[in-house]
Symmetry: D2
């Protein structure tokens, strides 16, 4: 990673702003395009797209690069940047970083020949994002649940990245934590941490004050929801369509919150740091 | 504690509602006055004051009993109950529970002869309320701080009840916790828990992302605030007037949140449970 | 798993005894061979080998099945059972369980046709054994280290199963925990838990009171040991030949303890339970 | 605390040795008497008593100062120092530190006029010693209990200093922790930490794998021991005569270990540090 590296930051949301400021705070030159409405704290040069391209070897696109498949995501800009052959051509000789780049690649065949890095595919990125996701879930639980988490009975469905971080935090707050998993090896892990462990097919039994779902398939379907004896707050953290049958939940008068994209919402600064450090690690390799 | 006990619940806020419902769920008769606008979940008899008095031996006044020193606190009623000799006379032969009863006692000399119990003076009550207070503080921190608490540098000023519970929870979430105290014995406790310990006079040194003050005197005065090198989020949990010089903080552009009466706000159900159980323990003695 | 299952337990060490008793306590018939010197607490039929074979469908061999490749491991028996075609022939129609069965299979070609299950290869078995291993390491550290673990600086080299469980326990005791790993994703996990994370190549830097090695290759070679500035207690948990250059350590006057096969030594009852439950899970599949 | 302070260290056990070395490592002059058999690591002047007195203003006696009430405790010396008027006369103008000084004061009326400090009476000293005591208890439990502490059911009787530290460590290792106390406020603390809380009179009920007693009166008397349904390992940490009826326990075939004076035994270095730092704090006041 060269010391005189210049980074061009194009569009995005609060995470991209935080990332840009953090890179600038590390002493690198940062040129930013797509942030007319933003007042940066750090020394960042707001520039036109061409200027960014002229000065920077490394270009950082947002996460996701595009929401509609056509334009660059740029929440803080009124300009619309079309993702097409011209855009790709501009970035031809650059090192291009971005998150969820799949739809970008469909906008031009040129991308095959450009040096791109999708940081959102890196394991470390996913692990680190589990932290703001878990904290976001806890914040929602604290706001919505009328009791205290301390002493409450919490079920965490799924023991992947988010399940691991979330169950640890809930335990640290003093909740009584049950975690579900499919494999005996995971149950062994779960129990070694002091939590209760149950098989995924048992999520419908037991009494819980709160249920945090992290499993991205319909575990909490109508039959499971129907046989629940308690009246838990359900926070669904699984990406769309989520793991809870929302219609059945509504009919059964269950309180379900589908919480998506928490890192960017609850901790943009942390989320920006995570992107920055993942990019640094890629540059060092 | 007799099994056929009848409880009269008079006025108050969400905690009093939750408490009434929890007592009813335990199988006791509950008569409630001062809740015209409330739809209770449990079997609770909404009644006129006289009816409550006629049926109940134990009367539970709210916390605080009065906000203005003249009327009974009753957030869910349009009626105004004056606290005077007549009111005291009504409760003469009852067992009367309440929180922060001091100002009530000034409204009539009759109170000297009435069997009263201020549950808010009990140690167990204060300890248990530290839990919703700490969770309320964490919820605020999660909402206001743009990073994650996990990995952040948190200072908890003061190692009393709230300081103890809060530092444990922050540590459990994965924050880097420093706690201040005045006594070496407290520093020994603090360090045995894995936190860093500093003397109270050192709170102005060190770099923190968040500061939680629990000390009810002006520790964070102008001189301390001025020499701070970092730009922390400050959450003041100390009762009025708090421990932070707000004017100095404003001039120095520091972000201070004075969070008061958190249990009733963030966890009315938990706070109601705490009141109920404290009363039960008094009745059993 | 049939309710009237009969288990034959052949030879082994304290774990096998604990396992046999635990199976009997669950209500199953247990026939044991190779335990002349043992007085079982539970109802267990000590029998000759032929009797065991006659009564039992499931036969449980020890862990490891053999130490010398020729005889059945049987610490509590004076008889020597040769592992050969005759032995295999005896077990031909049985369901045979055992640990580290590789060398057994070399004693007779018959084993190809026998229904065998090596429980020591199951992930859940390995995970669960990390718990007694970590506790054994902590017991050694408490015995050998003249200070307290609380507040001490501990390095855990490697973040596999043992590293994960051990670092969590050390942290729970209040040690200052640093963990090394090779991958950024593991460092992200490590830091999310509140530990310090370092890359494996950095294990020679930093000051530690204790070092727990879990990496089964020579990480602590002469060059690493030589540049250590502190004088740590080193506990090597990696299987033979371990991860520490013992000769270099001796020349440098470093205190190294190579701790092997801890589960059977420090917690035979727990180790026996783990074997039993793994076998039960296999039977249920 | 003067920079050129000289400390005289007289007699004692391993803690006193560790303390002397730690003081010397801080750069102070240390004169030691009563350690003929000891080879100190740090620069310490082994001296005759008179020489110590001549050079040092601060004299540190051991903990306890005397075991028999007549002689100075000096485990590493063959000389017997009689505690009498002559001894007191020698120390007349010194600042004298020591632990459990009560019996020393009975050896001469001169002590009334000498500047003495019994560090063992300081709260911080007691708090810090709870740490090696708790670790010593855990080491014993790990050695004696054939299962793992992780997942085991542990009762900690009493929620004083040792109870607090011990329950936290057991919880951190992953045990299922129940703590007994007499007061509701303590039960509130206990539950806020995620442990189960019971009243002291309930210690005889419930099933435990291990019981740690910290209460210095006979809580585990014959009637409590008799009605126990489980067969726990009992570790009694209370000072003599302890909290367990040993004769009844023996008749009932219960395994009881009375563990006394753990800090000096399991962690002399830590115990020496604690003494040193308490003395430093006294000197700074």
């Amino acid at each position: 990673m060269k010391e005189n590296c210049s980074f061009g930051v194009l569009g995005g949301d609060g995470r991209q702003i935080a990332m840009a400021e953090s890179i600038a705070a590390d002493g690198f030159s940062v040129y930013a395009f797509g942030f007319e409405d933003v007042e940066f704290h750090e020394m960042i040069r707001k520039s036109e797209l061409e200027e960014v391209i002229r000065h920077c070897e490394s270009i950082i696109l947002p996460l996701p690069v595009t929401s509609d498949g056509i334009h660059l995501k740029a929440d803080y800009s009124k300009k619309q940047i079309v993702l097409d052959d011209n855009f790709a051509e501009l970035l031809r000789d650059k090192q291009v970083f971005g998150g969820k780049m799949g739809r970008l690649f469909q906008t031009s065949r040129q991308w095959d020949r450009i040096n791109t890095h999708d940081y959102s595919l890196r394991e470390e990125f996913a692990v680190r994002n589990a932290v703001p996701t878990a904290e976001g879930a806890i914040e929602i639980a604290m706001r919505e649940y009328p009791g205290t988490l301390n002493g409450s009975r919490c079920l965490v469905a799924g023991y992947g990245r988010i399940g691991k971080v979330l169950s640890r935090m809930l335990y640290g707050i003093g909740a009584r934590v049950t975690v579900s998993a499919r494999k005996q090896a995971d149950l062994a892990w779960i129990r070694s941490c002091g939590y209760s462990g149950i098989l995924t097919e048992q999520v419908g039994t037991g009494n819980y004050d709160m249920i945090f779902n992290t499993i991205p398939y319909p575990v909490f379907d109508r039959s499971v929801l129907t046989k629940m004896q308690c009246d838990p707050l359900i926070i669904d953290l699984a990406s769309l369509p989520g793991g809870v049958d929302l219609q059945a939940a509504e009919e059964l008068d269950l309180h379900v919150i589908h919480a998506l994209a928490l890192p960017g919402k609850v901790a943009p600064k942390a989320a920006g740091e995570i992107i920055k450090e993942t990019i640094y690690h890629i540059l060092k390799e």
